[in-house]
Amino acid sequence: MDFARKILKIMFNLKLNKYFILLTIPTTIIINSCGKNFPVIEDLSKDKFLLVNQDSNAVIFPENFKNKIIVIGYIFTNCPDICPLTTNNMRLIQEKLSKEMISDVQLISISFDPLQDSPAVLKDYATIRNLNLKNWDFLTGEKSTIDSLTKKVGVVVIKSDSTMFDDGRKIYYYVHTDRIQLIDKEGRIRKNYIGSKINIDEIINDIKKLE
């Protein structure tokens, strides 16, 4: 009863101070959106996705990258149009991080087409584009693992058109979420960006806030 009375008193006081309310609400919104406090979109800290990188080394995601900020993009290598834009944006992020001497950031590109994208295919994809793999891993894995991962991180992947070769081989294209994500050092997704159109300065500033 005492508690209810206190709440009513606070509300009464606030009602009297409408200018105070008008001032504090926008200020709180601005502090929360611009400050360090990005909302946690998804917590992956307890997850252990067993994947392999372009060198066929086993990787437990995100556990192996703990204490690093992760910039992660989602691609499939048979996509010659949108996914290269995302990959190129990852490259631009890497270059800007280097220029600003920000270390402890890991870049990851995950293929959501693991049946096509073996480690060797991912290695070729990176090599032909002269990508610097010093702090950048291209990951693939079992289809069931990739499916669980994409579901958990909110990346939607739908099989769509296909091309049939003369010898009967068939490759598929996908309608998919155009996504780059920022993951903090504790393995929590903190922000989503449009992979092919990301503002490089925006994500660099966001990384600085999470450092």
């Binding site: 996509c79 149009d81 949108i82 834009l85 490259r91 032909i128 584009r129 091309t163 998919h176």
Partner: protein, 148 residues
Amino acid sequence: MFKKILIVAFILELTFVNKIFSQSITIKDSWARPASKGRNSAAYFTIINKNSFGDSLVQAISNIAEKVEIHETFKTENDMMGMRAIKFISIPANSEVKLKPGGLHIMLIGLKKNITEKDSVNLKLKFKRAKEIDIKIPVKDIMKKMPH
């Protein structure tokens, strides 16, 4: 005699019309993405139609890939992107149509060899009305040089 004149006139007209069509469509700013053997690349360029009538790009042919298709990238809700094969690209009269990343492109599917920045790709473009055009497209990692 009159019949002969008619035939000559008809041949001359055909030649003239053909010449107009072959000159009226031009291609500029072409490039293709680097990609490894067995994978896919995309070719981009601008089609310029100076004719007073529309045309369509109906086919692209190249010996660099197992298949060549005309594709478009499309956006759906919730930041979803996809691409699909289309039968032709319309080129309105007196216009330019740009094939560019995130939009219309020529898919080079199942490359027969690696293509890198030093290479070029031969492409034959077939139109509904204009004469076919052969172009040599440089392979460029053009995005690397793009300001952001």
